[in-house]
């Protein structure tokens, strides 16, 4: 399934709400949470991380992973948290509006 424009940022922020993760961890988490429906390529995730970091919504620091390996871990900042709340409510509005318009799946005749 392809992502809607701009939703990747939101997904990353949402994923980091529960705790800090390294880049590959974020990709894996999104993939498993969506039951493999969203095949996030690391190649497109990585620039998004850098973009979010430049905007100050997430911050990164070196740490050791579960297998005792060094990796860069990302975590949500205070402004990132605020942004996520805002985005979340916008998203919910959007979904409900589009849902109202689309209604149930129409029968296809012919």
């Amino acid at each position: 399934m392809d992502l809607l424009q701009g939703t990747l940022d939101m997904l990353v922020l949402r994923t980091l709400r529960t705790g800090s993760l390294h880049g590959y961890g974020i990709a894996k988490s999104i993939r498993s949470t969506s039951n493999e429906a969203l095949g996030i390529e690391f190649g497109s995730l990585y620039p998004a991380l850098k973009r979010l970091e430049a905007k100050g919504w997430i911050a990164s620091a070196w740490d050791t992973s579960e297998h005792n390996r060094r990796a860069k871990f990302y975590k949500l900042t205070a402004t990132g948290r605020k942004h996520l709340v805002r985005e979340h409510s916008k998203w919910a509005d959007f979904v409900s509006v589009v849902g109202r318009i689309m209604g149930t799946l129409p029968e296809v005749k012919g």
């Binding site: 430049a54 100050g56 990796a71």
Partner: protein, 872 residues
């Protein structure tokens, strides 16, 4: 925070740090997840870098670096391209600065775009000054202007103390709000206060910055010091800033004094400021917010109509016009507009020649580089990126040309700066290299870059890279491209021809002018101006002064004759009168015409050797109280009484109600303002019957007229040491500067343009023919191998150059035939179409073209066939 986050990525050390961080991060992730799982990391880094937000800047720097490298590898190409542009842009900038000085430069006031000129108009004169009462009414009633100023330019005799000889200086008599409305803050001291405009106030003045520097060494003590203007003691209260040199072109006032002083300075019995019939003030207004020129025009029209109703006597048929400064200047000096248009047109042609030269070079270079570009395209560079890269190169060439052009322009401006008219006080042309010229040069560079850069860049980027790589040559399908370059070169020749013919016509006109008789004597004559009126002489005293002066000068050894005139022919200040010739039917709505005219004494015609064709000259019997007489020139007769006998006819001055003068003689038509002017009507009246306050003495010498300078000064001093003497110079000097020097400089200017145009076009032709030869090395090799002679090959190449030049000459001939009338119309007497010019210029062009193609032709013929073939 955000800004800082972004800006720090401009810092190379931070970028390196970030790069290292990313590399380490990705290496660690590869260790965790494996390379395959992470995919194309190079692309990921590339995209991440793009989020820094400065890739565009980085790529521009890369373009510039790459362009500089490319240009350095071909110094010959770069030098020719930059030089071509430098010459053309330099010529354009120099002429722009000239046009700026003549017409375009805005007033040196705050927000000049909001300043408009308000003038009085009548059916006879669409640009007349305003009277002070009219100005006062306008100022009080108008809502469109937030402020209206009035002023007039005059010359005042300036002396620091009563014993020093007075100097004549330009001065502005200004309304008290002059500086505040102009938005000009004095460099020292203060501007005028509202009360200081009245006649009864203490006389105060503001001096110009230059005057301050020259006479007071820029010291603050100037404030409060005393200056004698026309013999009246003034206190200096302020110094104008260096940037403000008054509101007039050419005449820079040294001193600004309130208009209220006019009556005392002029020593007049009545107050001219209360005379509604005296139209000598220039009025300018600053539009209030929300008003436009149109709304202001509508308002002043209503005010003008009200004044016309109320003051029918003085304001009959008088209206008001609101103009921009440029409109005013064009109205005032339409001949300068013609000059500017012609010169700008010529340099524009040169710019086009230079641009097509550079375009041609770029096209040739593009072919040579098509392999390189094909490689760049094939490894994935976008075509738009390649075009951008090529445009960057063009832009660098253009900017280098623009900057180098400024040096060329500086040279031209130095020459133009010397253009002046010898007079006291001096008129100043004001050609200068300022920011406006710099901006103009860079703008022209930018524009030319678009002209010469776009087409070659596009064409190069269109390269069929498969062919280009395969053939090892170029990927262009040759024919179309070659045709484009041929058109460019033929066009260059055509444009060069127009410029050369213009130069040739100027030369022919200039030669005509040199051989043209001045129609009055210039040798053995020296002239001087005096102005006893500035010392408040009464008219009777002035008359007595001149009588004594003439008597005294006649006694000086070496003086053969003395005459007086109000205006010496060809001197920059000519006098004019409104004439109403008897029996002449004016166009509807008009009742008089402004013509040159002067009061002269009885000795004038014989001393200046102005021939009387019919009737008689003035005699000593034409005195006050006898029948009023006048003499007109042949052109006057031709204009107003064609085919009739003018002797005995009558003429009135100023208006139909003026006194009648009887024509007693007809003088030969001469030149009055310039030698190349169209024949102009002229009318002489007798000085004894019409005494003037300011006269020019013309003294005929038996020997060197220059030797009389000191005796003449002494003669004036022996009568009154305070009377200023100015414009003391041999008439031949004046004549030379007015006729020879000024036009010689114009000719040099146009001649230089012609030369530049020819040089550029020749370079273009040479380049193209040379290029053709280098492309056909193989063909020539075969021709020589199968027995073509040296001459055959030379002719083959020559023919091509000559055909191109020939086509150019034919096109140029057609274009010139269309443009010549415009040229001739703007410059009577100078834009003469001389058959010799039309014959010589094409011949010269063809000859130069033949030489330019001979060099590559010889190279082609000298080819060793074996080597030529092996080369391919």
């Amino acid at each position: 925070m955000m800004i800082w986050n972004r800006l720090r990525y401009l810092w190379p050390a931070w970028r390196r740090h970030e790069e290292r961080e990313m590399r380490e991060e990705l290496e660690s992730l590869t260790a965790i997840a494996g390379a395959k799982e992470l995919g194309n990391l190079t692309l990921a880094v590339e995209d991440a870098r793009a989020t820094w937000g400065w890739t565009w800047l980085g790529s521009i720097f890369a373009d510039i670096r790459y362009s500089l490298r490319a240009l350095r590898t071909q110094p010959g190409f770069s030098a020719v391209a930059v030089l071509s542009l430098a010459l053309a842009i330099g010529a354009n900038s120099a002429i722009f600065s000239f046009a700026d000085a003549l017409l375009l430069r805005p007033l040196a006031v705050k927000n000049p775009a909001a300043m408009f000129d308000v003038s009085s108009t009548t059916p006879d004169n669409s640009l007349e000054g305003m009277s002070f009462p009219d100005y006062r009414d306008l100022r009080d009633k108008s809502r469109s202007f937030s402020g209206l100023i009035a002023y007039r330019l005059t010359t005042l005799a300036v002396a620091a103390n009563p014993t020093a000889p007075a100097r004549m200086c330009f001065s502005s008599l200004v309304s008290d709000n002059f500086f505040s409305v102009a938005g000009v803050t004095p460099a020292a001291g203060r501007a005028f206060l509202p009360g200081e405009a009245t006649a009864s106030a203490q006389p105060v003045g503001v001096v110009s910055y230059d005057f301050w520097q020259q006479n007071y060494a820029g010291k603050q003590s100037v404030i409060g010091s005393i200056l004698r203007l026309n013999g009246i003691v003034f206190t200096i209260i302020g110094v104008a800033p260096a940037s403000f040199t008054g509101l007039d072109r050419f005449a820079l006032p040294s001193i600004f004094v309130p208009l209220g002083m006019a009556q005392r300075l002029d020593g007049e019995a009545t107050d001219a400021l209360e005379d509604r019939g005296r139209h000598d003030l220039i009025v300018k207004g600053r539009l209030s917010a929300g008003a436009s020129r149109e709304s202001a025009q509508a308002e002043v029209a209503v005010i003008g109509a009200a004044l016309e109703r109320e003051y029918a006597k003085t304001n009959h048929n008088r209206h008001m016009a609101v103009r921009t400064e440029l409109q005013r200047r064009i109205q005032q000096t339409p001949q300068l507009l013609a000059l500017v248009k012609m010169l700008m047109g010529l340099v524009a042609l040169i710019l086009i020649i230079a641009c097509s030269n550079v375009a041609n070079l770029l096209l040739a270079r593009g072919r040579a580089r098509s392999r390189e570009i094909a490689i760049r395209l094939s490894i994935g560079a976008g075509r738009s990126r390649v075009v951008r890269q090529l445009m960057t190169e063009s832009l660098i060439v253009a900017m280098a040309g623009g900057v180098a052009g400024l040096f060329v322009a500086y040279g031209g401006i130095r020459v133009l700066e010397t253009l002046s008219v010898p007079s006291d006080p001096p008129f100043v042309l004001g050609v200068q290299l300022d920011w406006r010229v710099v901006e103009f040069s860079l703008l022209v560079a930018l524009a030319s870059c678009l002209v010469f850069g776009l087409a070659p860049a596009w064409q190069t980027a269109r390269t069929d890279f498969v062919n280009a790589l395969k053939a090892g040559g170029d990927g262009a399908s040759g024919k179309g491209r070659m045709l484009g370059r041929d058109v460019l070169v033929a066009g260059q020749v055509a444009l060069a021809m127009i410029v050369l013919i213009a130069a040739g016509m100027f030369l022919a006109g200039f030669r005509n002018m040199l051989v043209m008789p001045p129609e009055f004597r210039t040798d053995h004559l020296i002239s001087l101006d005096t102005a006893p009126a500035v010392l408040h002489y009464s008219p009777e005293q002035t008359k007595a002064f001149y009588r004594r002066l003439v008597d005294r000068v006649r006694m000086i050894p070496g003086v053969a004759g003395v005459a007086m005139t109000e205006a010496l022919p060809l001197s920059p200040s000519q006098t004019a009168v409104n004439v109403v010739p008897e029996g002449y039917q004016f166009p509807k709505g008009r009742e008089k015409e402004l013509e040159f005219g002067a009061a002269v004494d009885a000795a004038y015609f014989s001393t200046l050797n102005v021939e009387i064709k019919r009737g008689r000259a003035f005699t000593d019997d034409d005195r006050a109280g006898t029948r009023r007489v006048a003499i007109v020139n042949q052109q006057f007769v031709k204009t107003y009484w064609p085919g009739q006998d003018p002797i005995g006819k009558r003429i009135r001055f100023d208006s139909t109600a003026g006194p009648a003068f009887e024509i007693v003689g007809v003088a030969k038509t001469g030149h009055y303002l310039a030698v190349n002017e169209a024949p102009a009507p002229y009318v002489y009246v007798s000085y004894e019957q019409n005494p003037r306050s300011r006269m020019t003495l013309v003294v005929q010498s038996t020997g060197d007229p220059g030797a009389l300078a000191q005796p003449l000064r002494d003669a004036v001093r022996s009568i009154d040491g305070n009377v200023p003497v100015f414009n003391l110079r041999p008439v031949a000097t004046l004549y030379k500067s007015r006729v020879t020097d000024t036009w010689l400089q114009f000719f040099q200017m146009v001649g230089t343009m012609g030369f530049i145009g020819l040089a550029l076009a020749t370079t273009g032709l040479y380049g193209l023919v040379g290029y053709t030869v280098s492309r056909r090395v193989k063909e020539f090799g075969i021709r020589v191998a199968v027995g073509a002679s040296h001459r055959d090959v030379v002719w083959l190449v020559e023919r091509r150059g000559l055909i191109l030049a020939g086509v150019g000459v034919v096109i140029g001939g057609v274009l010139t035939a269309a443009a010549a009338p415009l040229l001739a119309a703007g410059f009577p007497g100078l834009g003469v179409s001389s058959p010799a010019v039309y014959a010589l210029v094409p011949l010269a062009l063809l000859m130069v073209s033949a030489i330019a193609s001979y060099l590559p032709a010889r190279r082609a013929a000298g080819l060793d066939p074996l080597r030529a073939l092996r080369n391919e």
